[in-house]
């Protein structure tokens, strides 16, 4: 009995741990910013079509690399393809096709009691680098600025880090909140706080700031006057598999675009 029970329990564990093998599926890989849209879209897509889709993150560069290696059907990217990547694609005689699926605008927010209404990109950068520490240095009331940032793996952080911080480091004294909801809560409860959040999450418990005099909105994001915005795109090869094409069409359809909005982004 004893040796048998060992083997049995080992088999049980192994069978539970073995990954399910899926045949004939669509694979999607790339940007973690696009990931929340894709995960929601894929859930609805699977429910509608029954096609197996596997989605993974890894970042825009990895997604595009995988597309060019033909190890993924669809690449997600929070930036457009770089010249180097386009050349690499040409050398492999692959023609990547770009689809803009959504726009992302990140808005700085403060407590409604704060009298500040606008900050420049440079002021925001200095605040997040810990160089400006008091609201009166940027025209507000006297009070220590409580800087709130997102976890470094989130797409919102990535956008902020790239466009406002120009890849400089957020100082270690910044508070960290792990979700868009927690950011709102923390700003609503602290009159000296500043944070940033995706446009889809902002509600009336906080006050959005304009950046360089431009108010962030779907319109200003689309006409590119609002600085903290970017397009989110997916790439396929020129001749994607029918299932992959079907997935792309689904995301571009009105139903897919509703999902984009639910995930906190702007329709294309």
């Amino acid at each position: 009995m004893r040796p048998w029970s060992y083997i049995l329990s080992a088999l049980l564990v192994v069978s539970l741990a073995a990954p399910a093998m899926a045949a004939n599926s669509v694979t999607v890989k790339g940007s973690t910013t696009v990931l929340p849209i894709m995960q929601r879209a894929v859930e609805a897509f699977i429910a509608e079509t029954g096609t197996t889709v596997s989605v993974s993150g890894g970042g825009s560069s990895n997604g595009i690399k995988a597309l060019l290696d033909k190890s993924t059907d669809v690449a997600m990217a929070s930036r457009t393809m770089k010249g180097k990547e386009i050349k690499l694609a040409e050398s492999k005689s692959i023609k990547p096709v770009e689809y803009i699926i959504a726009l992302d605008a990140v808005i700085p927010i403060v407590n409604p009691a704060n009298k500040i209404t606008n900050l420049t990109s440079d002021q925001l950068k200095a605040i997040y680098e810990g160089k400006v520490t008091n609201w009166k240095e940027v025209g507000g009331d006297d009070g220590k600025i409580i800087v709130i940032s997102r976890d470094t793996s989130s797409g919102t952080y990535e956008t902020w880090h790239k466009i406002i911080m120009k890849k400089a480091r957020v100082f270690p004294g910044a508070l960290l909140q792990a979700s868009s909801g927690a950011v709102l809560q923390a700003v609503a409860k602290n009159k000296n706080a500043i944070a940033y959040d995706g446009i889809g999450y902002i509600n009336n418990t906080v006050k959005p700031l304009s950046v360089d005099g431009v108010t962030g909105s779907a319109t200003t994001a689309k006409d590119k006057t609002y600085p903290v915005a970017r397009t989110l795109q997916i790439y396929t090869t020129a001749s994607p598999s029918p299932a992959a094409k079907q997935l792309v069409d689904f995301i571009l359809s009105p139903k897919g675009q509703d999902i984009v909005e639910q995930a906190g982004f702007i329709r294309r």
């Binding site: 329990s9 564990v13 793996s153 890849k167 960290l176």
Partner: protein, 306 residues
């Protein structure tokens, strides 16, 4: 083996039945141990690769945590100091409260009072940590800002108070059991010698139940260091060693919980978070081994232990 209907044949002897029961219990027990072992192996396998990128001392004593930058910095000293700070401060609050409640319940309270208060304290243990975290975030943090005029209520102090809430029931419940199980003869002897009730508690009952009390304290502290949700919501999350009681901190579990969901699979960041988990595991293991050691070494053996 003839497995006909139960009682139909007498082929299954009592002894065989014994063996079957023995075997099935063994199988169940070894499954859970096996799964736990697999989890530990997984933790180590997923954590070790980071040490190809940074040396172990640089990882543990590094000041900066910028896992997604290029080049990245993987230093978890701010998180380790955050974890130790919240554990120390919450222990300062929870140990006196927990022990005094335990002494009151076991020695001073009337049986009726005890039967009413003890379940109440143990019910506190059932409060989900996310509820305590939410309370700290929405109620306590703004209060702290108003009362003390501090910059942010999401800080070391707030997190420690919330953790103390969670540690008190653990400490009270285990310590109370230890104190309550001190043999009645000891108390009677002490009182017969002319000691007051307080002298009896301080000089006889507490020394006699010290191993149990130590176990209670250590398990309470282990709960604080491993708790995730509360520190994620309430501690503020600044990756910096705290300079004051009201500075925001980021304990290790908060760091892992905040970043794991979106860290790319098998990236350096992913490995570094698992390695943080390994360090955290070492800390909680230390607490548990200590508790087991004290409980074993100084086992309460009735009146003989005094």
């Amino acid at each position: 083996m003839h497995l006909h209907f139960w009682g139909h044949t007498m082929r299954i002897s009592r002894q065989q039945k014994e063996i079957a029961i023995h075997g099935s219990f063994f199988a169940i027990a070894s499954t859970s141990i096996l799964v736990l072992t697999l989890i530990m192996v997984f933790l180590i396998v997923e954590g070790l690769p980071i040490f190809n990128q940074v040396s172990f001392p640089d990882f543990v004593f590094g000041q900066y945590w910028y896992p997604t930058d290029d080049p990245a910095d993987f230093g978890i000293l701010p998180m380790i100091s955050g974890s130790l700070a919240v554990t120390a401060v919450s222990s300062c609050i929870a140990i006196p409260l927990g022990l005094m409640t335990a002494i009151y319940l076991a020695e001073i309270a009337s049986p009726r009072m005890r039967s009413f208060v003890k379940p109440l304290v143990e019910m506190l243990q059932a409060l989900p940590s996310v509820v305590i975290g939410f309370f700290g975030m929405v109620v306590v943090a703004p209060l702290l800002q108003d009362w003390f005029g501090i910059a942010t209520g999401l800080n070391l102090f707030n997190a420690s108070v919330m953790l103390a809430f969670m540690a008190v029931p653990t400490i009270t419940s285990i310590a109370e059991d230890a104190i309550f199980s001190v043999p009645e003869e000891l108390r009677a002897a002490s009182l017969a010698l002319g000691a007051t009730k307080w002298q009896t508690i301080a000089n006889v009952v507490i020394p006699a139940s010290l191993p149990g009390i130590s176990t209670a304290v250590i398990l309470g502290m282990a709960r604080s260091i491993g708790e995730t949700m509360v520190v994620l919501m309430v501690a503020g999350g600044a990756a910096m060693a705290p300079g004051s009681l009201f500075d925001p901190v980021r304990p290790m579990p908060a760091s892992i919980a905040a970043e794991m969901a979106e860290a790319p699979y098998q990236s350096d960041h992913y490995y570094a978070l698992f390695a943080t988990g390994m360090v955290l595991f070492l800390f909680t293991l230390m607490f548990n081994v200590l508790a087991a050691y004290i409980a074993e070494k100084k086992k309460q053996t009735g009146t003989a232990s005094l």
